[in-house]
Amino acid sequence: MRRRKTFAVHAFIRVLSITAFIAVLTFIFTLFALVFVKSRDHLNVHFLTDSPKGFPLGSEGGIFPAIMGSIGFTWVACVFSTFLSFMTAVYLQFYCSNGKYKQLMRVVIGMLAGIPSIILGLFGYSFLVVRLGFGISILSGGLVLGLMVFPYMTIRFERIFTAIADRYEAGSYAMGVNTVYYILHVVLPLAWRDMVSTMSFVSGMAMGASAPLLLTGAVFYAKAPKSLLSPAMALPLHLYHLLSESISLENAFASAAVLLLILILLNVLTWLFGYYGDEKWMS
């Protein structure tokens, strides 16, 4: 009787997990199919390389400045956030021996993750744009995006470091090396693949975010950015304008398709980088 019940529970969990897996796959496939089917007539080389044109603006032409803007915002966010998260995670894992202080830092990081992104945008506007004088620019927008993804990156980095420390810390110190050497020669070679994958994940988050950019970096129209202090277009906001002001549904779908393609490309590159880089670093 007991065995039959265990079998039934096992079968139920199995069916449930397979159903969930199929549901997720179906959802992703439907989403991609919908976006790519709807955008198939507009997605071409000109769309990728032209600036928005026509009246109202965006009804014709392409989205080149928005692609470059999004890449710029994401790049700044990624660099800023990686640096900050890496240093924070290293401090928490390897140097902070006070448990209470460590706990407090984790709570603060958790709180930062809970702050609505529009409020981060507001902070970016008053501090970076106005106070520091960066203006509406890639730098301001990128820094705010970096701040937005910082908690996710830090928590993930710390977990990666903890997993490595559990296994390799005592043995490394037993070899007489110091913390810096241990970080450089054990932690980084083992962690970099997961770190790059985390960077790719948060880049996707940053690239798709629109609220923090509304007040800090993105504009309705601008040429492809020439410097970090240029204002720029951003793909998600461009898409939003195309839809909300009924400028062009087709171009909105085509913009969405480009955004998805960039994310796919980012993930594939991350995978290739990890796959081929691993052997080189480890040998």
Binding site: A170, Y173, G176, P189, M282
Partner: protein, 239 residues
């Protein structure tokens, strides 16, 4: 007296819990000293205290002193012992890096040049009879080696630190009989150059390779004896 490390009145705690109680022990130079006893008796803690690695465990504290290398280490200074002696763990502990990088881990830190690193790698791998098996695959990931090979690699890597003392925590427990025999033979050869402290559950193994045996139970040394020609001939003064 040919004593390399002397432990005096060592009592240690994890938090409030007393693990070792009033340990007094001399480890003789160029001898194999086995620490035997039931699980939870404090064998590994004693080894961790001797290596200084216990200082990295949260909640560890101790009283008493460890004399080594003409210095006295107490609770405040025990962390300075870390890295002064080679430690081998129960499970082979190889970094998932190449054999070469594993071997040059400590020598690179010491700032040895590439040529010296290569020479030390070769010498130490020969010392543990692993060179012929891996000399053509030094770029291969160390995790691809068999369990016995990995444990010998760990031993070779530990020897690159030029230690006087090897602390081995049940190094054969995860190995089959054949690989365990290889490690035993190796240790018997290595004791000419190194002092070895060896934790084991295996009484037969302790008898085969030990010079001195410490029986540790409930955090205390219950018995200590010396093997001569395979027979435990006498109780020896512990300190």
């Amino acid at each position: 007296m040919d004593v390399l490390i002397r432990i005096q009145n060592l009592t240690s705690f994890y938090g409030e819990k007393k693990i070792l109680q009033d340990i007094n022990l001399d480890i003789r130079k160029n001898r194999i000293t086995s620490i035997i006893g039931p699980s939870g008796g404090g064998k590994t803690t004693l080894l961790m205290a001797m290596s200084g690695l216990a200082s990295t465990i949260p909640g560890f504290s101790m009283t008493g002193a460890i004399h080594y290398d003409e210095k006295v280490f107490s609770h405040e200074t025990i962390h300075e012992l870390v890295g002064r002696m080679a430690v081998l763990f129960q499970q082979p502990f190889v970094f998932p890096l190449s054999i070469d990088k594993n071997m040059s881990f400590a020598t690179r830190f010491e700032g040895q040049n590439k040529r010296a690193q290569r020479q030390i790698t070769e010498d130490r791998l020969k010392e543990v009879n692993l060179w012929d098996e891996v000399k053509d695959d030094l770029k291969m990931k160390a995790t691809k080696l068999s369990g016995g090979q990995q444990q010998r690699l760990c031993l070779a890597r530990a020897l690159t630190m030029n230690p006087q003392l090897l602390l081995l925590d049940e190094p054969c427990s995860s190995l089959d009989a054949q690989n365990a025999a290889i490690i035993e033979a190796l240790l018997l050869r290595l004791k000419e150059r190194y002092t070895i402290v060896f934790v084991t559950h295996n009484l037969a193994q302790a008898k085969r390779i030990s010079d001195d045996v410490i029986f540790l139970d409930d955090g205390q040394i219950k018995e200590a004896f010396r093997y001569i020609d395979g027979y435990s001939v006498s109780q020896i003064p512990i300190a």
